[in-house]
């Protein structure tokens, strides 16, 4: 859906999405890294299970919700990636204790 411009010379950062290594760049938000990757980053909603991807990328719509390093319902578009970060795509309702 998106590709990186060749002029982007930022250093690489490796994150893990559902345990799979994904190459991101320093300064990417989690949501930008997911959309730039080839992985299926669609979450499913808590209400009907409908698939969603980020919509606004500016902290407004909450369609980018992901689990980051074990903490659920984080706004992926507001959190910058960090080396070794563990990201989980949320499917359906939140689980108790996460």
């Amino acid at each position: 859906m998106f590709k990186r411009s060749e002029q982007d010379k930022r250093p690489p950062v490796q994150i893990f999405v559902d345990g799979v290594a994904v190459a991101a760049r320093e300064g990417d938000t989690v949501s930008a890294a997911l959309l730039a990757s080839s992985c299926d980053a669609r979450r499913s909603t808590a209400v009907s299970g409908a698939p969603r991807l980020p919509y606004c990328m500016m902290g407004v719509c909450f369609d980018c919700l992901v689990t980051i390093d074990g903490v659920g319902n984080r706004q992926g578009c507001l959190v910058p990636v960090a080396e070794g970060m563990q990201v989980e795509i949320q499917k359906g309702k939140r689980e108790i204790g996460r």
Partner: protein, 472 residues
């Protein structure tokens, strides 16, 4: 950067580091006032100047000269004594100017003598059939990725809507080597005539020449279809096609990405939760705060600057920020205001920056069918409530947005009405044959952004606080 505020009290607290907030904080600090700037993003710039200090887009022409103006604002701020905290989410503000802010998973509490809210704008909801499908995003979302990560659309891409940002984004995508297959212009034909009486102010504003040359640049490379009267997205779990009607003729084209845009509206959540009076703006079709000429709101000590004060664009936002800050300085340390630009100068700069705005507002006033959906089209994305659901609730007695919450939970999901509020107000107004002002808006309350229960439980509390809620 993500450390708690250094003090508990400040002369001036500014919320939001976009054009208005950057200018306001620098001005206030320059006058010697203790100033705190809180911002939710990773770095300064807000949306217009997003990633201004970190963008990987190094060719300055690609983002345009208007973007790089932001670098000067950041330089002035950094040269000042203002304390700046990024990744700081303000979740509560009350009439006593007590502020709760979440930084790095913990909440801090600060008090201000004066507040300047510079929370800016967000994109107007564009509730068409299929707008919740993966692959449908706002134009602003694509621009955010372009500025902060040099990402551009790669698959079959359609941009639909209207307004200056749409053309700017299209030009930027093309300059960075991205793909756009078609632009669907939803500007209502009648708007051209309505806007005509305001054209003189616009053609003599700086926007005119820039806008024309950008549209020419885009039209040379992309097929533009104008006069779009219907628009929908479809696909099974992922956007597959975009369907539209232009000149009475329907066409469906395959697409991987649909970028929607029909202007921006003030981001009112924090201001409304502090009890600031807002009124319906019939031209801009949104809620705007009731302010005096210095940006002071109905709550003593709180001013609003930038697009949150009513959409005026980045240049106006900068000046509004300086005006609000100067007013704060005049109120707290009148002698220090002598260092700053005189109010009369600022006001004439503001008038200049706002020149041509009525023309743009009139020309790009979105059509009713793109604001007020029907049938199965989703209105509330979080709770997945359709237009029909809302109308059914009205039929059995829901009178306004706050009653509708009890019927359907609209506006009660994590976005707290940001993506459905305007639609719900206009839809209910139409159904009940009332004005949006009469129908009203959601009653917004803290926390205006979600925080965890653990964070809330960990806030400092006195013995009296505990006694008030613990039994026995």
């Amino acid at each position: 950067m993500t450390v708690a505020p250094k003090r508990e009290d400040y002369d001036v607290v500014v919320i939001g580091a976009g054009p208005a907030g950057l200018a306001a904080a620098a001005t206030s600090a320059e006058a010697g006032l203790s100033t705190l700037l809180l911002d939710e993003n990773v770095g300064p710039g807000g949306q217009v100047f997003r990633a201004i200090s970190s963008t990987p887009v190094t060719d300055r022409n690609q983002l345009g000269a208007d973007y790089w103006v932001g670098a000067d604002l950041v330089r002035s701020l950094r040269a000042s004594s203002a304390e700046v905290i990024h990744r700081a989410t303000v979740w509560s503000l009350d009439r006593n100017l007590d502020i709760a802010v979440s930084v790095g998973g913990a909440s801090a509490f600060v008090k201000a003598k004066r507040m300047i809210l510079a929370t800016g704008a967000l994109e107007r909801p564009f509730p068409i059939p299929g707008w919740t499908l993966p692959g449908v995003m706002t134009a602003g979302a694509a621009q955010t990725m372009l500025k902060s990560s040099a990402l551009v659309p790669d698959g079959r891409t359609v941009i639909a809507g209207q307004g200056p940002l749409l053309w700017l984004l299209a030009a930027q995508i093309l300059r960075l080597g991205g793909r756009i297959d078609r632009i669907l212009d939803t500007t209502e034909r009648g708007n051209y005539f309505a806007a005509l009486p305001h054209a003189l102010a616009f053609v003599t504003s700086p926007y005119f020449a820039k806008g024309l040359s950008m549209m020419r640049e885009v039209k040379a490379k992309v097929q533009v279809v104008s006069g779009i009267t219907e628009l929908s997205a479809s696909g099974d779990g992922q956007l597959a096609s975009v369907s539209y009607v232009a000149g009475g003729k329907r066409e469906t084209i395959p697409a991987d990405l649909l970028l929607l845009h029909q202007g921006v509206v003030p981001n009112v959540n924090l201001a409304m939760s502090a009890g600031i009076e807002h009124r319906w703006d019939d031209l801009q079709l949104c809620w705007s705060p009731v302010l005096d000429a210095s940006g002071n709101s109905s709550v003593a000590g709180i001013a609003i600057a930038g697009d949150g004060a009513g959409i005026g664009g980045a240049n106006a936002a900068v000046v509004r920020g300086r005006i609000a800050a100067r007013a704060a300085v005049e109120a707290l340390v009148p002698a220090a205001a002598a260092k700053l630009a005189p109010m009369a100068t600022l006001r004439s700069e503001l008038a200049k920056a706002e020149r041509g705005r009525v023309f743009l507002d009139t020309l790009f006033r979105p059509s009713p069918q793109f604001r007020i959906p029907t049938g199965d089209t989703i209105v509330c994305r979080c709770e997945e409530v359709t237009a029909k659901d809302v109308l059914d609730s009205v039929a059995i007695g829901a009178t306004g947005p706050n009653q509708l919450k009890a019927y359907r939970r609209t506006g009660m999901g994590p976005c707290q009405g940001r993506l459905c509020g305007l639609t719900v107000t206009e839809l209910m107004a139409q159904a009940r044959n009332k004005t949006p002002q009469e129908i009203g808006y959601y009653r917004l309350r803290a926390p205006v952004k979600p925080i965890t229960l653990a964070e809330l439980a960990a806030v400092p509390k006195s013995g009296a606080d505990v006694k008030a809620v613990v039994r026995g």
